[in-house]
Symmetry: C2
Subunit: 406 residues, 2 copies
Amino acid sequence: MVKIKSQRLQSRLMEMARFGGLSSGGVKRLTLTEEDKGARNLLRKWMNDLGLEVHVDEIGNMFGILSGKNKDRFIGTGSHLDSVPTGGKYDGPLGVLAALEVAETIVEHKIQLNHSLVVANYTNEEGVRFFPDMMGSLAHVNPNKISEYLSAKDEKGITVKEAAADIGYNGKMKCGAIRYNAFVELHIEQGPILEQKGIDIGVVKGVQAILWIKLTIEGKSGHAGTTPIAARKDTFYAFSRLSNYARQLCSEIPGQLITIGSIELSPNAINVIPEKVIATLDIRNPSDEHLADAIQKVHEFIAKDDSFQNLKVSEEVLVDVPAVRFDQRVTSSISRSCQSLGYSEMDMFSGAGHDAQILATRYPAAMVFIPSKDGISHAVDEYSSPELIEKGANVLLQAILHLDQD
Amino acid sequence: MVKIKSQRLQSRLMEMARFGGLSSGGVKRLTLTEEDKGARNLLRKWMNDLGLEVHVDEIGNMFGILSGKNKDRFIGTGSHLDSVPTGGKYDGPLGVLAALEVAETIVEHKIQLNHSLVVANYTNEEGVRFFPDMMGSLAHVNPNKISEYLSAKDEKGITVKEAAADIGYNGKMKCGAIRYNAFVELHIEQGPILEQKGIDIGVVKGVQAILWIKLTIEGKSGHAGTTPIAARKDTFYAFSRLSNYARQLCSEIPGQLITIGSIELSPNAINVIPEKVIATLDIRNPSDEHLADAIQKVHEFIAKDDSFQNLKVSEEVLVDVPAVRFDQRVTSSISRSCQSLGYSEMDMFSGAGHDAQILATRYPAAMVFIPSKDGISHAVDEYSSPELIEKGANVLLQAILHLDQD
């Protein structure tokens, strides 16, 4: 059976991790930055060396195409090269470089595919620098919204359009020009389940719903030493109560996760009661119904808790992605590959958002997970062993060969 | 009886408020900034016009001296011109400009004082740009620590010494050169008590203890969508529980105030569990014993609460000022003035830190309070009526004339 070359994939993963590499061993490579430019240029070189036809679309999504007998039927695979501020080497790059490794293996073995194979790198999957996250794949499935995405600004006021142009990745191809007959994304689990169960491969059946809310709470500033507690309109105290309640909901509602990852106080001075809090809630659940329940309870808390009386609260929904079910034909091609390779597998849902989840709203798609050491990701010590990465890439290869036969 | 001129004092308060004036009507005049420079230059001009001998010390404290029969015996009065980021027109400038008004009244009436009268403006009372607060008066009473204060840095890495030089207020006079026989500071109450009781003047018998603690809480970053709650080392969740507990302590311990005014998360990204929280606690109590009790309970909470298990907590004490009792001779001179002027008065403790509290550690000192509308300060709508300001300035004048006779 045809196999990928583990050593080549490993060395490329390590070489890619040098762009935005942190002394801690992690990676900080925010989308469309100089670090991202370096990573993209290296990917393009590797694509060119392999003879792939490289295209870049309006929002900077990169596509390396290996033509098949039928040039207009596409099977896609890939992920993203951008990272969070304290990210690791694997979240994203694994899917992109494994896709490249699959293409190289097919070229080396002179396998003539029926479909054209697309190796994809999607822009701004993490959504740290620009809202929303998974922006590149969103633009792929919603080309009519491209101007909205291109005008999104980072905290310095730089737009996506400007940032893409600054690093030379404002491409000519129209977003959505490539229509996939199937898309498969290899990714680390980013959770502890596979490792705890000692299983090689996760066959991802779907992705949990994700909601990002930005809360702005306005009260009144006042002197920390002279304003009686009863007279305070203390925005941070109210928000800290909400933070406690959010954690409580995580134990009350099945599958519920709520994370408070960012907050900003005004005026943010030691001896001044904060007149304003701007903070975010990251709310996830495999069930759309349970997610809706969580939101309702959060709103009820804000409406009823004493700490929020006399405060003004406004809410902005930054991201609202419903739960996704992946394509049965694509997931079964993954299962068949695991069986033919003799790897242990289990069905699971993804806890994180992924490009494949967005592409799945328009094209048949699914994902392959490999275990994450200690379930850690979005952290500098994110790790998956070369052996597990090799298994994941071989499953990806076989799944694509199966899909190519359909 | 000699009286100050209310109209002149009011117009000077309004003119001074233009430096760093906000559209909201408030003032943002951080210490040793361009805005502070403008305010200082105007004060120096007024001092010169009045014929005061102006000195600036190493840390930028300004002194306008009206010589008396005994040149070497000093009675001081004054406050500070710096403000918090969302400050008002009165916290500080009232004490400085009322001091100037008192000097001008004495000059106009050709009153020959036994003591030299010192009109003082102290540097960095608010402590927002540089730690610690009340730095100028601290340097006045601890000249041996001057190099430590001068090397304090703001968030841009600029030192006090550099900032003072940048605006031309790095003076030649040695800190502590002026030794007061008495010091009186007029200030707004910054609390609701006088207004609620309908009393004109607060005779301040002392100042509550103030402790500023900077907490650094270190955990582990992780993916918001895939890290099970039980596996999280969530620094913000732990801190939000501490915030709730701190508020609870304010109702359990007599006179206790705890304020959380500033916080910083790392990496501060929506979908990443924060690996680090740096936040401050402003803890105040009129009783040193009660304050110590509050600190101990905070430490016990951090040691015992489940949310802090597996987190690393380090603590830095930024400010630690014990409760202060003011000088009996000075406070009685204030009471006698109220009685002779026919103003209602009450004894009270200050909830805020003040330069007079620092000077009191070395020289006989006390303070005069006037009511603050709605008890508001450190806010743009801080306000005290011209009538109350006039009363406060007249009490200050009479108190100084009494002290001059001692």
